[in-house]
Symmetry: C2
Subunit: 421 residues, 2 copies
């Protein structure tokens, strides 16, 4: 089955907003083996939309429309559909009663404009909207199926689950459940070329077109895709994920889209050495970003004690106990200072683990010996004779990227030491 | 002039990526009075793309295409255009020499696949690509103009400036420079309804359709739009901005898109009391986010000394000097503790200004007396008898939103006190 998605709304043709509803719809289509061939956006013009609808319906068996079902004058989807299909629009008393009741339940009288939302395209099957006033519609026309959904994401989500998914599932089952599914594993702090080299054998084993590398600074996601009927599809996907994990090695930190590096580190701290371990961090160039990431995780107060953002040399000495002479001799951006920060915050804050980051985030402050992007990261381990590991790196990119990659690497070093401990 | 934008690439029909190039193109079109009527995305299929191109060219005077100019088999824009327009494709020796030279300059030999990038649609005007291998093209066809641009944003940006802008400017000048321009002012920490009420008079004076309210948690952007020829357009825009600023009052913190609340606070600290003032912050529920925002600003080390993320009660006492009895009596999330944190970090870190945030970010940790979203923020001012201001709020939303709004309000309170001082 070939499908197209059309988003309606002049605001989606401006400079601020993109149609993001299509991403969710695309995921559902893929799951049930429907191929998305086109996406489009039109403004609030009846003629423009009707024209586009005619084109899309003539070329696709399934057309999903989002938006333009509201009560105001610029909500033109209903009118455009009647124009495109040459059908009428009839007020549905039952829908009207539902909308009126909805307003009453919120202690209000339905404004006259909302009457419009009870108008139904002749021959359409209504899709109830449990989360808003405008119902959706499903319309069969000359061998194609047209879905009309509201543009409000929360309302759209409800209808996807209540109506689109069952409709697709039925057709998919009739066609042997041939669908497409993806699975993601996440890799931290390796260059894309290194990851590609490591996983190359999987290309030969599973086919290059089924494995995608999505790279962003400090993180690479490896996406596997499998197609076909269940349960073979799932089995194939699991086999690909397992193989990729094996090939990519210990740089893989997560096999679920919802896991983040900070949540994985949190889980490791919870069970470090069979009991819960605590963490404190000392930051200079990252300015609080590392602490902020760690505390994004709900419940992080169980293991995270606190952090010190020591932007000045004086505070590095005062709060973390970094010797002033050490800073004078080696400079604030140096291995000894990073180590002293990690060990100092661990000692001062009485935590099991400590992290220290000091670097030149830029754009100013760089020198020939320590150019912008130079960062020293140290992780101090637990125990009275805890080992401290240190890494010196030079990150490319601007201030924001240097900071982001520094926090990412600190989390990954911590993850590796926790795994090894 | 009516325009359409078409983005080419199967990766833009997946579940991860949206076409964002169109946003920049839209801004340029608006500036020169061109109306964008449609946006579309097609995959790497010659037939599909040719079909869409024919439709778009028959209905629009200007069609901008991005993507599909690369060297690989799935880069099909050149072929699709020849199919749609019924033209040929000819290898341009000069373009080929340029591409080969480019590779040589990087110490490489041009791979054979790149020959394809030297093929030019018959009758096209070439657009040189200073930032990559594939040149763009401008093609006139039956009264419409078709631009082919690369999909790589950096390369596209270069061609927009070097070719599209001059082309549009010439046509716009011939048509009396009728364009459309926008200007934004930013308002912190006021509900949308309050802002709307305040600026209502401007709706009557300038016309409601020219003013847009863009609301996000803790921040509202008021966008003015003016249309027509220069210099009247600019004059009108300036008048609208000035009036909105007057009506919205002291909640307005910036009149330029590039200014952030943290950069404005930084500027105020630089000239506070005629000299530079320093800042330190103490955070609990925001976990480093406030420090992270402040240090996003390049050069913030001039005024920002450091921050303490004190997640535990012990660290609040140890690092900031918050009396343990005070925490025991009032709880960590309380007015006295917020005040003691702000004053404590100011004293301990020897800064002129101090900020303290303590609250319940959720999802756990709430109680009947202190439900999730309860946050106490205090700002301690300079001098031996510096005044400390305190605000108690209850933010809606999840952990991320509570944290974001808390940092935003702390910055805004600081901004207001700096302005008053």
């Amino acid at each position: 089955m070939k499908a197209a998605i059309l988003a309606v709304g002049s605001e989606l043709l401006g400079t601020d907003r993109l149609d993001t509803n299509s991403l969710k719809l695309t995921g559902v289509l893929e799951r049930y083996g429907v191929e998305l061939r086109r996406k489009g956006v039109v403004g609030d013009s009846v003629e423009e939309m009707a024209d586009e609808l005619r084109t899309l319906l003539s070329r696709h068996e399934l057309v999903l429309v989002t938006g333009g079902l509201g009560p105001t004058a610029d909500d033109v989807t209903r009118e455009a559909v009647t124009l495109a299909l040459g059908r009428g629009l009839t007020l549905d008393e039952e829908v009207l009663a539902t909308i009126e009741r909805r307003f009453r339940e919120h202690g209000r009288v339905m404004p006259a404009v909302n009457r419009k939302q009870a108008e139904v395209v002749d021959g359409a099957v209504l899709i109830p909207n449990a989360r808003g006033t405008a119902p959706g519609m499903r319309i069969e026309d000359q061998g194609s199926t047209l879905f009309l959904f509201p543009g409000v994401p929360f309302e759209l989500d409800g209808m996807i689950e209540s109506d689109l998914v069952p409709w697709l599932a039925e057709r998919s089952a009739a066609a042997g459940n041939v669908g497409r599914e993806t699975s993601t594993i996440k890799v931290a702090c390796l260059p894309e070329s290194v990851v590609e080299e490591r996983i190359a054998p999987a290309y030969g084993e599973f086919g290059r077109e089924w494995i995608t590398i999505l790279a962003s600074p400090g993180e690479i996601r490896l996406r596997s895709t499998a197609e076909g009927p269940e349960p073979e599809r799932r089995k194939r996907l699991d086999a690909m994920t397992a193989r990729l994990r094996e090939l990519a090695g210990d740089a893989v930190y997560a096999c679920r889209e919802e896991d983040t590096l900070e949540s994985v580190v949190g889980e490791l701290l919870r069970k470090a050495g069979g009991t819960l371990a605590t963490l404190a961090v000392a930051e200079s160039c990252t300015g609080g970003l590392l602490a902020e990431r760690i505390t994004r995780v709900a419940g992080s107060s169980d293991y995270f004690l606190g952090g010190a953002v020591t932007y000045t040399n004086e505070l590095k000495t005062q709060v973390l106990g970094v010797p002033a002479e050490m800073i004078a001799e080696h400079g604030a951006v140096s291995e000894p200072v990073a180590r002293a920060m990690a060990e100092g915050v661990r000692r001062a804050f009485h935590s099991d683990w400590g992290a220290g980051i000091t670097g030149v985030a830029g754009p100013g402050g760089g020198s020939e010996a320590k150019p912008v992007g130079t960062v020293h990261i140290a992780i101090a381990g637990p125990g009275p004779h805890g080992r401290t590991e240190h890494h010196k790196v030079r990150f490319p990119g601007d201030r924001e990227r240097v900071r982001a990659q520094s926090a990412q690497l600190a989390l990954d070093l911590l993850r590796r030491m926790l795994l090894a401990s």
